[in-house]
Symmetry: D2
Subunit: 371 residues, 4 copies
């Protein structure tokens, strides 16, 4: 048996609790045991902590994780992409486990909506063995059929954590919009998802990208990621002014594609007016239920829009994300987004830093806790 | 000069006024003069009469019209599909005239949103020559570049008017959803657009089609057009019950495609819940602005939906519509939808019959007024 | 143990041999034992018999099969669509078993090209238990993860066998072409795949369908399935004449979509010339390698074509096929295609009848052999 | 009247002849007179000179041209994108003029196949006024409805000519393939179209791009444009070796998308084998008819390919191209492709330099001839 510490969400809105768990040092066939190097704090973790999503407790939060292989179960010798795996390899993985055989997996081919989907750090409770099913811990157990990815040597762990699940989410969402080279794109929001959407849109050949958001340090980051125009919502304060600003940047027509990366319902109403007629509007930021807004469906008919939703991501997006991160490190400095590091004991502070928006991206580094 | 009568909308919400106009018996090059045989009353005409759309008065209403060619301007010898045209031919035409060169026509290829679009019976005022620019009149002037279609002999005028612009609208909208053979489809609404959407969905290979609407005579018509299941909103009265009914008919998942053909905002909120995850939702009934509704954008993300708008139609849809009507007359009895005929003097009664929903479809037959 | 007879391909081009096999009466968990009611002879079986595809012998041919459940392994209580399964139920199944985890299954989502794909009646040798892995036998063993479909009571076995794998193949192929309502379609070939493609194209809303083929009895069948125009290759003998005939039926432009269902390379060259510019050409009949043809790639550029291949089908196509067959029995008389029935002892005659093209569709009915 | 010199193709395979023409200094309404700054020599010009495409003589070659506005006809005050136009502005234009109303323009929306299409420098004979209808001349007359584009100040003329029509062609073709971020792409050919296709693929988010071609100086250029892998056909000499090399770079599967930019039929046969199953193959290099090749259509079925043709480009591609050139000058040095400059008197030498492949790109600079 191997023993390690984990920071556990036992009660919503209450501090995470640090506990010890043990796990077999020899994983079952198909499984892998990993020693956590770094775990990202995702905005969703804050929502989970508040009880805003229907999950079962106790749970170890953390679905953006990099670690080193401690032990391989029988039959695991390759990662998802076919690369050989061995003890010591630095890896990450898709948090979601899907069944492959349900209506959504087999018939409709949208595994993100698999009826049996379970995600590490979210919907994998930790009270029973193998316990280590989330990132805020010294160890992580990867069940059979987990989509594991060996990290290339020239891709720093910080880049993977800095991008986090936001990049996979953005790749999935932008893929569904079918951005064409030369398209004018608006990104609503400059948080992790917004920055990732900006990078993906640029990478997909967008002609000009307009980023709308705040505060200043995030807009700075957007500029470093190549935003062609910035609209600071602390300066351009009304919805009408922002719509007018986008129209002015687009010869009066609006953008070809607008990517919503905020999660506030009024932003959706505003964003649809920023689309040109025949344009596309991606609702990407509404992973959580943030309630209703007064909305006029006539706008969708009149402007002949396509409004597109995208939920989470598939393993193939993780594969694309890692290769993208590796190849574009100079253009898109995701590694620099990791602005704050915390030990495992500081997990509550890490969550608070993310909740406040002070950090661009917080991460837990379990090794720090031994210092 | 040729003289004829026209029923004119001079003031919103006031009775249409019958007046005489004259027009040159020799149309300019590229133009055509038509003697109206039958003009359909579209639901939009009622909205126009009420002043709910921003148009300039006075106008002769009527954008669904069949007539016989009275005179051909120089250079017009073929219809839009390449068929020869001559005096006496029975024809219909696309109401919309587009420029072919604007941003939407040339660059984005969505002529329905042409910035210079003008539609007979809607946005072509009648005070100046050639006056006859709407269907509620004895004559109709077709300007150069109008998309004219010669009607095949085995296609009755009633079928063209019974289908009306609703069929073109439905063809355009359903085309944008990309219905696949076997898809389960819900049609919200059993008015002219709903019936047309039902027919188009069946024709496109939909596996089962569920129609939701009222009153009884419309649901009867839906059944005749091949609806596999009917949900009568006078019996299944709450939104929750209707959503549950659709779920029950779809093994709990919801429909692949839901087609909104009502025009009431709450119907949109209800309809999105009727989609399966990864499904498509077409907002087709909101040609007019019917105000806002409390709506939760989270549903689009969580269910990974595509929400699609579609505005009006292109000439190519008229071509498809006419061939469709001709080939499927037995399966889809559009001709029988023309339930009430009126003379030109009775134009106000015709509008009232449409407004009340008593008629399935009303039509003006100018020749009746001579009796 | 249960014992049954099977007709076995032990040597290419040699007569099939009738042998007895035994199988456990209690299938392993996840598996099902079926008593064969009817097995279709597919054109591919003739190619397999000739050794034209790379398979391992011995094998029991037959990948189009209907039977009744004899015994259910533990854990099998529903079919692929979620319908309950019990002993005695009449079922069919997808012949292909795929892995769900390889590059093609998981990353590219084209399970038809699964690197671990094995098909009953083709690539499942029969020398080892459970032996019964093809249709030409009294029993059929369905391994765990087989996609099984319970047949609705109002769908005759003959319709399923008459349609055969040709219908699934056609559904997959035509889906890839994205036929739009009103499209003019040419079907090259009037064999089982051609007839199925005709039915699917009509069902998908094709405006007019032109079928090109021979002999007379097949063209008769095409007419019964709704072909709008027939080109008899025994009368219109040259490629140039046939291209001209299609052009004449399409105002000189060619068809929107051409579906190749023959399997002879020169037909592909001819068919591309039958497409309008910007049209689509589906190569569906070339499941086997029939060699090369002199072809000019300039035609694809100049005509701006899309040329599309489609291999086999997925389980979801079987689901769609069965519902399609049930709902359209009157329009598309697939059941009548089963023109010849043979006992298991007559399996060689059944193959010969298919090879000669005398039969529209041959079937083996094991119960006949007991008479 | 204004007078200028033009280099004229009067007889196939014979030297171009220099003649003087006059044109009204006041263009008709809608037209524009331009003084040529630079005209690119396209590979197609060589084919035209040899008589390999069906054109009417005499013609002034040159369909890639930049010039300065000398005079504007009445009503021309904006370029295609809506930017204001005035005398002296530096402009380029789409060579093709389309009708906007034919079957291909209006119904099928593929203006590249407009039945009335006429292209400057190709299908616009010069014997009648206004004569100046090709690039190899001091003046160029732009008829009404020409799609004119004002060049931004920060975009050098050399970049526009260096990219030439190859870039528009590549944008159109690659758009039709729908490259997704992360896709592995093979470019067959390293001439102007191949280099442009490489740039467009990288810009569209391709993961890795493999370029196959020769000679060395072109492969050098490919590397400068960002090719991730190079296969030199002078070193890897057989088709089988090149296919194996691509397989090795793609984990054995082949590329997601292969772009043919050579124009030699055997290259197409080779390229299809370089696609992964389910991949896409673009035939872009076959603008001219280069004859047939022995090809096996089975490969399209078995590999479930999409083979896509693309003819020329639309004005919207020119718009995208210019913005792309402006924004990516540092990444893609198109301006450096203009390796050889010639005076108008040297037009025959310019053609010869292009024909021999010695120049990366040749250009005629009429002003040089005055020196």
């Amino acid at each position: 048996m191997t023993t390690g510490r984990a920071s556990i969400l036992e009660q919503f809105k209450a501090p995470l609790v640090l506990r010890n768990f043990s796990v077999s040092a020899e994983p079952e066939p198909g499984a892998v045991l990993v020693r956590t190097e770094m775990a990202g704090i995702c905005g969703t973790d804050v929502h989970l902590w508040k009880g805003e999503l229907p999950i079962t407790l106790p749970v170890i939060l953390g679905h953006e994780t990099v670690g080193h292989i401690e032990a391989l179960g029988e039959g695991v010798d390759k990662d998802w992409s076919g690369n050989p795996l061995k003890k010591g390899d630095r890896v990450t993985w898709s948090p979601g486990l899907t069944c492959g055989t349900c209506y959504y997996c087999a018939e409709k081919k949208i595994p993100t909506r698999c009826v049996n989907r379970r995600a590490y750090g979210i919907s994998q409770p930790c009270q029973a063995a193998p316990h280590f099913l989330g990132g805020y811990a010294e160890l992580h157990y990867l069940k059979p059929h987990t989509s594991i990815f060996k990290l290339p040597d020239d891709l720093p762990t910080e880049a993977v954590i800095g991008a986090g699940c936001a990049l996979n989410t953005a790749l999935h969402g932008v893929e569904r919009t079918g951005i064409l080279p030369g398209d004018i794109v608006v990104v609503q929001g400059a948080g992790p998802v917004g920055i990732a959407a900006l990078a993906v849109a640029k990478h997909a050949g967008a002609g000009e990208v307009i980023v709308i958001g705040a505060p200043k340090h995030r807009l700075e980051m957007a500029r470093r990621f190549g935003a062609d125009h910035i609209i600071d919502i602390e300066e351009v304060k009304t919805s009408g002014e922002r719509i007018a600003a986008v129209r002015q940047l687009t010869r009066g027509y609006g953008a070809d594609v607008v990517l919503e990366c905020v999660g506030a319902p009024p932003v959706v109403v505003e964003g649809m007016e920023m689309c040109r007629d025949g344009g596309k509007y991606l609702i990407l930021g509404h992973y959580c239920d943030a309630g209703t807004v007064a909305w006029n469906p006539h706008v969708v008919t009149r402007k002949q829009l396509q409004v597109i939703g995208s939920w989470s991501s598939e393993p193939r997006h993780m594969k694309i994300a890692l290769e993208f991160l590796r190849a574009t490190q100079k253009q898109f400095p995701f590694a620099e987004m990791v602005s704050h590091r915390f030990s495992l004991e500081q997990a509550n502070e890490a969550l608070a830093a993310s909740a406040s928006g002070k950090s661009t991206k917080s991460a837990i580094v379990p090794a720090l806790s031994r210092l």
